[in-house]
Amino acid sequence: MSRTNTLLIVLVVLAMVMAGCSPAATPTKAVPTAAPAKTLSFAMVTDQSGLGDQAFNDATWSGFEALKKDFGVTIKVVESSEQAQYVPNLSTLAEQKEDMIVGVGFLMKDAMNEVAPQYPNIHFALVDSYVNQPNVACIQFKENEGAFLMGAIAAYMSKTRKVGFVGGMETEVVKRFEAGYRAGVMTVDPKVKVLVSYAGAFNDPAKGKELALAQYHQGADVIFQVAGLTGTGVIDAAKETNKMVIGVDRDQNYLAPHNVISSMVKGLGKGVYNVGKLVVEGKFKGGSYRYGLAEGGVDIAPSTSKNVPPDILAKVKKIKQMIIDGKIKPPATLDELKTFTPPTLP
């Protein structure tokens, strides 16, 4: 029996080592720069996806690289391979007296709430979530503004006058997308019907595909997906049925060049850059920093011009300007959507 147990343990440990290895659990990667008298040092803690995820973490890191280029700050990254590492990773960096410590992703909210009060003199930033701490800058986005434009594009492009929305889970952020999107559709044409489905998961592409096929079957010809990895199934369904789909977070046109007509891109790097700049200038303050269309926090993907005709794109850009000028206020919640009255477009 003991031989059995030993072998078993070896198997399980091997498996765990592999599970642990996957997000390259290197402690710190310091990128030194030519040091003047006092170089500021900025650090970032990733979530489990780590660098190389072509999404959240990579986008945030691009903001760090821009800070290094423009202000000569030292930048470093600590990758977390599991949620339990958030607190120790943040604390270690705080002990090292980094000048700014950025946590990426809404999963880091609790860890930030635990660590930030213990180091009141350290500047923290949290991407895509909010905590009420005086020394944490919360970088959030006005997804409803970008989603509003996606709704406008969908309504203009739809020939069946039915458009779809597939969400991952019913979180506050995804609902903010839904509210903005539906308001955008309504503004362009109140008669266009919006089909809404939720997958209940961000990593079940097969379910995403099934939901999308059902919507396409019921007559929708454009779907906006806000579903993380579940959304890759939605894009797959569009490709298979040769319908239109709109991507999220980054320009997803490369996934299906003829079907992904647009994407709502999020400027994570830009958000981090702006907060980092405040630290450099000595103007850092905790609280909520919301970036919308005006600040480049959300935007229409550049690839949109490939599939959306110029006259429609011109109309959408006019709507964008109206939002920036404050003439249109896209609803941020489903409750606000109920009282939203679509403005008349010029």
Binding site: L11, A19, A206
Partner: protein, 310 residues
Amino acid sequence: MGIWSQVLTITLVTGAIRSATPILYPALAGIFSERSGVLNIGLEGVMLISAFAAVVGSYYSGNPWIGVLYAMAAGLLTSLIHAFMCINMRADQAIVGTGVNILGVGLPSFLLLKLFGSQGISPIVPRLHEWRVPFIADLPILGPILGKQSPLVYIALIMVPVSWFILFKTPFGLRLRAAGENPYAAETVGVSVYLMRYSGVLISGVLASLGGAFLSISYLSQFISLMTAGRGFIGLAAMIFGRWNPWGALLACLIFGFADAFQAAAQAANVPIAPQFLLALPYVLTIVALMGAMGRAVGPAYVAKPYEKA
């Protein structure tokens, strides 16, 4: 009635069969393994590893059928470890299964990084396209349901009578079941229990691998971390509901698949039911079905019990 006429259409059945397929494979896989006396809760892990292997095969060869072969090889290898631990080492079978599941999470994401340099998601690879079956596709009702599906859907459906025949109509099937019901009696009449149990687990690995390949290179065209999303476990529930019989398992999978297709259609039609309830429907039905079957569903007597040669 307007809404419901949109929901209840023939494509609902098409979708039901599509959703049932990745559950049917692990259900049949579980039947072979457990009938031979080896508990197999590692099917989720086997499916993940083979879903990844399928993508690797299709990526490097450009031919999705090579991907299917890779998946089968990966399923075979993974279940070989399972079989060795459970049969030769007489390890606790639930723990070995858990180990395989952990391996199924870790190994693909580790290799994803090594081979493609990416996290959680593989490049898009050539996938198996639907087959149009000449005669059936022209039939009125059966046509839209079974006329144009993935070859792996047809293989899954064919495997139901084939598995039933092997298990209940051949001497091999009788011996395999004997190893699970009473291995000591089986050994006294000259049946090699080890051989039968190895066969059961390895057949199970190959069947589960096809379920993984269906998800990654037939239904979709890339590997995504944890893409099986519990389908291996739902398959085991279907096996129990079907009382370790392929036909019963097929029925259970179709109920689940139907509920899944129904919730997708109902959500899209804006049926006034909260999405949470609709999403839970397939799982609630599975639990209800399991409770209904509980009193009567009795597995093979020697499942999960290691056999020691006298």
